[in-house]
């Protein structure tokens, strides 16, 4: 593998954003993902390759370490930031269509519910998996999901709820989404939700954690 790609993979895996950033200590003084991506582009490496051979594999490793409890969230967040710095460099290529994400993932915490720690983690991991993210925030009603879907045809939807009294709102949202486009995939999550409830409201998939969500989405994309 190309050395730059290898270094970029390492920078993202360990959360090295740019030259100046002090984190992680062992990479202090070295280039971060920002610089490495720039150099990779300059040396003419295919942007699609940068995404697929460095960023996504790096985030996959991070996700794996996280799900094996080998790192904590802050380490994962630093990797996400490093990936973000890289994406800044890649932006023009996305805009021109010369590289593509795996798809668009619209996520939000449903109406009446403000819990978003879990949802944010899912959004971050899915982004790391190579998807474009549209985060609608918290307390999101059916209208807003439908609207976002209209603006992003073909997107996959993710719903989060943490309250026994708001998870029921998922039902209505799923119905509205499916009414607009029956092919739209909806996945759901949050502590009180489970498989049975998922089937009951006609959603497509329940994921107990971000890893499972990423796996499912990747299957969809492939």
């Amino acid at each position: 593998m190309n050395e730059l790609i290898e270094k970029l993979l390492e920078a993202v895996e360990f959360g090295k954003v740019d030259l100046k950033s002090p984190y992680p200590p062992q990479l202090r003084g070295q280039d971060g993902s920002f610089e490495l991506t720039q150099k990779a582009i300059e040396t003419g490496i295919n942007p699609q390759l940068i995404l697929e051979s460095a960023l996504i594999p790096a985030m996959e490793r991070v996700g794996k370490k996280f799900s094996e409890n080998k790192i904590f969230v802050p380490q994962m967040l630093m990797s996400a930031k490093a990936m973000g710095a890289s994406m800044v460099q890649l932006k023009p290529f996305f805009a021109s269509g010369s590289i593509k994400t795996k798809g668009t993932f619209i996520i939000g915490t449903v109406k009446g519910d403000l819990h978003d720690i879990g949802k944010n983690l899912v959004a971050m991991m899915v982004e790391g998996g190579g998807w474009s993210i549209i985060d609608l925030g918290v307390d999101v009603n059916a209208d807003r999901f439908v609207e976002a879907l209209e603006n992003n045809p073909g997107a996959v939807i993710g719903l989060s709820a943490l309250l026994t009294t708001t998870m029921v709102n998922m039902g209505e949202i799923v119905t509205r989404i499916k009414a607009q486009n029956a092919d739209t995939k909806v996945l759901i999550g949050g502590a009180p939700v489970n498989d049975e409830f998922c089937r009951k409201i006609g959603a497509d998939f329940y994921a107990p954690d971000p890893q499972k969500a990423v796996e499912y989405l990747n299957k969809l994309a492939s």
Binding site: V73, I117, V138, T164, T165, F197
Partner: protein
Amino acid sequence: MKLCALVFWWQKHNIMKYKSLIINNPEDLMFGIAPKPVKTRRGLEIGGGQVYAELNFTLPIMSINEGTLKEVYNHYREIAEGALEHAVHLNSKGVVLEFETLLEMTKTPSIGVEIVKIMNDICEEYYQKHGLASEIRLTPNDLREFERPALQRTSKFLEPMVELFERGMMAGGDLLSIESTGGKEVSDEALMMCDVKGVLFALAVLGVRDMQFLWGKIVSLANKHGKIAAGDSACGFANTAMVLAEKKYIPKVFAAMVRVISVVRSIVAMEQGAVGPDKDCGYEGPFLKAITGIPISMEGKTSACAHFSPLGNIASACADLWSNESVQNIKLLSGMAPTAYLEQLEYDARLMNEALRAGKMHCSILQQLLVSSDIYTDPQALILAPENVIRISKAIVKGDSYVANARDGALTALDIIEEALLSGKMKLPEMETSFLPIFRDDLNSIPDSENDFIAMMLPMLDPGKFILSEYGL
């Protein structure tokens, strides 16, 4: 004397009222006994030599709307009746029912008020018929976080919250609490980043100021109606950190830091006139009890229905109320889940009450077992051991600003953790311990003065996430 009209020196200078502890001796930090017990209308004496069960509960999977209101009311009726009936059966000495409202019950205060009324009628009936003493703790949820960035002082949501407090207390909600969310806009991200300075800013600067604003209001309402301003637990901070640590999302040592830092935020309720029993879920109660002498509610193993916990036994070491945090009204094999949890809480309380009856030696041995069974399993447990609570509390009251108070408390907690590691009594993986020097450096970089600290932090925070003026800054 009209307390609320006076402005004390400490208030004017925005410094912590407490300069010393009420409980200086770890042996005096005991379950069931608080230097300033709270007597309630139907005769509970919380902290007066007896531990009571505090039952928490919530709805099963369902919507709250016009069409389901009757069913909602029936759930709360069934919960209260089931619990009190069983409490009588178990010869209970008294029960607190905590009614933590859900969104709709605060947004439309009449719903919340009606539920208080329903449950209060049942409490009264069991009091009259069977002599069972019970009270309702009314805990409206903080609606202000529905706006982002939150408008802590000018939000339109303050009105229904205040209305629910006032009409709810008149309907029989005698103990007033809330888990207010001032500072949460900042702490949410800081928690995920294990950013100890960010958490300290959220709690010791923003949280403190919001607590002053909110609890001034709550205490004067309570005084007006002769009700009991109880307390405010840092649920969105300390409990959230614990849950995240249980999931292995953040280090346990960080969750321990957050708990200590939250003390300076939660103590503001007492400074404003709250008298306890403090709420359970932030576990900062033992520190509040040591510093201010109020009785506290705690939760541990018997809140496994609500979240897993590394503090199962040790959490009860100095509890005056013993709570299950929350359980849905669903059917277990025995009966409804809240009734089952009431039974479990009652037996836990009985054990402690038996020790209280037997005398000091029995209490201290039981406490010692409760403490030593958990103490070295988790840094969050470690800092809740009575001698560590006292030591940290002493560090907290030393400083001359809330910022310094929080920093010094956290540094002492760090000392305690490192000593336990050094002695070999506690073991932690490198993944955890590698955070300790980072926290120490960060804490040491925090200045004494709040202004200096604000100046230091502002450039590092996302200004779109919170509004300083909403905190009087």
